[in-house]
């Protein structure tokens, strides 16, 4: 019985290494593809990789970072006016911008108390005090809110 036990244990090691050897070329190929895909992106593209993954406007996120001062506070408003942007993407925009725009502060309270409005398909008429400083189709706008 004992030699059979040792044989089974040795077979288990062989199976383990066998899986590793068989799967290894494919694993390395996939890593090389990832590495090549990374190399094809510029440094600034890598920083907004999520925008590529979820396909929301790169211009919007880059303009927001360029226009808002580092001590600004802002609100993110989304809505149905952003063309065929999906609900999943609309839900993802706020957490992405919160990360991307730090140290600017996302204001989750009354939208009218923030300094800036980041509108991704929202209804701009709800913000009559807004002074639009950047606009793009479909329904994207960055506006300063008069306080």
């Amino acid at each position: 019985m004992k030699p059979r036990l040792r044989l089974a244990a040795a077979a288990l090691v062989a199976v383990t290494l066998g899986f590793a050897v068989v799967e290894f070329p494919g694993t390395i190929r996939r890593l090389e593809n990832r590495s090549d895909a990374n190399a094809a992106l510029t440094r600034s593209d890598r920083l907004i990789a999520a925008a590529y993954a979820l396909d929301f406007s790169r211009d919007f996120v880059e303009e927001a970072a360029a226009l808002l001062p580092r001590d600004a506070s802002y609100v993110v408003e989304t809505g149905p006016n952003a063309g065929d942007t999906s609900g999943v993407v609309l839900n993802a925009i706020q957490p992405f911008l919160e990360n991307w725009l730090l140290p600017r502060r996302l204001d989750r309270g009354d939208p009218h108390t923030a300094g800036w409005l980041l509108c991704y398909g929202c209804d701009l008429s709800r913000f009559p005090e807004a002074r639009v400083v950047w606009r793009a189709d479909p329904g994207l706008a960055i506006a300063q809110l008069a306080r």
């Binding site: 383990t16 694993t27 990374n38 920083l47 990789a49 999520a50 919160e98 730090l102």
Partner: protein, 457 residues
């Protein structure tokens, strides 16, 4: 990637290693420099665990993660460790190598082949890590958001930490990432992926180093080579979030417990305590996993009550390290995700038990994610059972208890999906801890099954 940022990251990880060497010197010491080299992976993970844990307490106390603070913590940890070791009578060794009798290494070429595959894999992954963009949803939705908030605001800013997604999650990973940003000189979320590569390398060398005296290379490295080809590991390992760091701390901590059951060396239990503390401060699942490990180890130590007591005290102390963060949460009214997991609520959701169980089993045994890793581990446990029950019991029961914990999570939190393929099912990522436990303990189980029986004198 700027040279300054890369150098900063290297410097921080060197500090982790120095601090970890201090911890290792305090709890164990080393007889030769080659022995320290063998345990360098473990020392590195102990350093990450100790320094980052202390940093989380510092953050809760209102301190920052600035370079000066991290230097003080890591050099202080190292100095305290070396000082404690000296008080305990440990001395630095004078020899490079120990004069030990030559060991038989059967089928050495298998070990060399496995190690070669792992080396190539780590090199390929380092190339990926250097240019990886921040594309993982949870990583940018809250993990690195918290880290950047610590970096920019110099503290746990309540306006961010009470409102961001998953505010109740422990903060070890955000603290680690914030330290990275300070050492890089900027919140470089691309280079940050290299930190997670370093944790992976630390795990590989910690497992290899811990197993080296007991288990032949021809058994250790095939298991580590299997780790290299697991699709789930390859998908998740660089993501700057908590899942794989949790699996690293838990896997190596559990290996220390297993070796402690066999060798009865107290330092192994102390190392397990430090790593378990880090696991519990990495993700909430860490508490479930460590509880599973404790229950498995209690059964495996059945009848040896002094050992059981030592184990319970060590892991209770490890749990106590999470209290400062829980107090911060309570002070700032941050609810947990299990607030509505009352008996009444659980009863009302009893229809989720079966789908949750099915989902956990599917995800732990998923061929698409983990190939045959867990079946191989269970087969090894079954074979090892013929030589003694303690080690197989530790492995199998830890998995069973942790799996039951995962079922409870899916059952208790209705926001989570019980669909195995859903992104809203957290067990898809949490299962990595069970898989890495298998990679760490598998070689030990096989070695037990292969051990020659001692002839009675």
């Amino acid at each position: 990637m700027s040279a300054h940022a890369a150098l900063g990251l290297v410097a921080l990880n060197a500090l982790f290693l120095v601090a970890g060497c201090g911890v290792l010197f305090a709890i164990r010491g080393w007889r030769s420099w080659s022995e320290l080299l063998r345990l360098a992976g473990l020392a590195y993970l102990l350093g990450v665990a100790a320094v980052t844990l202390i940093e989380t307490w510092a953050l809760v106390a209102g301190a920052s993660a600035h370079v000066a603070v991290v230097l003080a913590i890591s050099l202080g940890t190292a100095a305290a460790g070396f000082g404690a070791g000296a008080v305990l009578g440990r001395r630095p060794p004078r020899t490079l190598l120990l004069a030990e009798p030559r060991r038989r290494e059967p089928f050495l070429w298998l070990g060399v082949l496995g190690a070669g595959l792992v080396g190539l894999w780590l090199a390929a992954f380092l190339r990926v890590a250097q240019g990886q963009g921040l594309s993982e949803y949870d990583a940018w939705a809250f993990w690195t958001t918290k880290a950047k908030a610590i970096y920019f605001f110099g503290q746990l800013d309540p306006t961010v930490f009470t409102t961001v997604y998953n505010p109740s999650y422990p903060i070890l990973v955000p603290a680690l990432e914030a330290m990275d940003f300070h050492f890089m000189g900027a919140p470089d979320t691309t280079l940050l992926h290299v930190q997670f590569w370093a944790l992976l390398a630390g795990f590989v060398f910690a497992v290899a180093g811990l197993l080296r005296p007991r288990v032949p290379l021809a058994i250790v490295w095939p298991f580590l080579a299997l780790l290299a080809v697991l699709p789930g590991v390859n998908q998740q390992v660089l993501a700057p979030q908590g899942d794989l760091p949790l699996a690293f701390f838990f896997g190596v901590g559990a290996l220390c417990v297993a070796l402690w059951l066999l060798d009865r060396e107290p330092w192994l239990l102390l190392a397990a305590g430090v790593l378990s503390a880090a696991a519990m401060s990495t993700k909430r699942e860490g508490q479930l996993l460590v509880a599973g490990l404790l229950l498995g180890a209690v059964v495996a130590s059945w009848g040896r009550w002094r050992r059981v007591a030592a184990l319970v005290v060590t892991l209770a102390l490890a749990f106590a390290t999470t209290i400062p963060w829980q107090q911060w949460r309570s002070r700032h009214h941050v609810p947990g995700q299990f607030e509505n997991a009352s008996f009444h609520g659980l009863g009302a959701r009893a229809d989720r038990i079966l789908p949750a169980t099915h989902s956990v089993l599917q995800l732990v045994f998923s061929y698409q994610l983990w190939l045959v890793a867990v079946p191989i581990g269970l087969a090894a446990a079954l074979l090892a059972l013929r030589r003694g029950y303690r080690l197989p019991a530790l492995y199998a029961l830890t998995i069973a208890f942790a799996g039951a914990g995962f079922v409870w999570v899916l059952w208790a939190v209705p926001d989570f999906s019980t669909e195995a393929g859903s992104d809203q099912n957290p067990i898809r990522r949490a299962a990595s801890s069970i898989v890495l436990l298998t990679v760490a303990l598998g070689p030990l189980l096989v070695a037990q099954a292969l051990a020659r029986e001692r002839r009675p004198r």
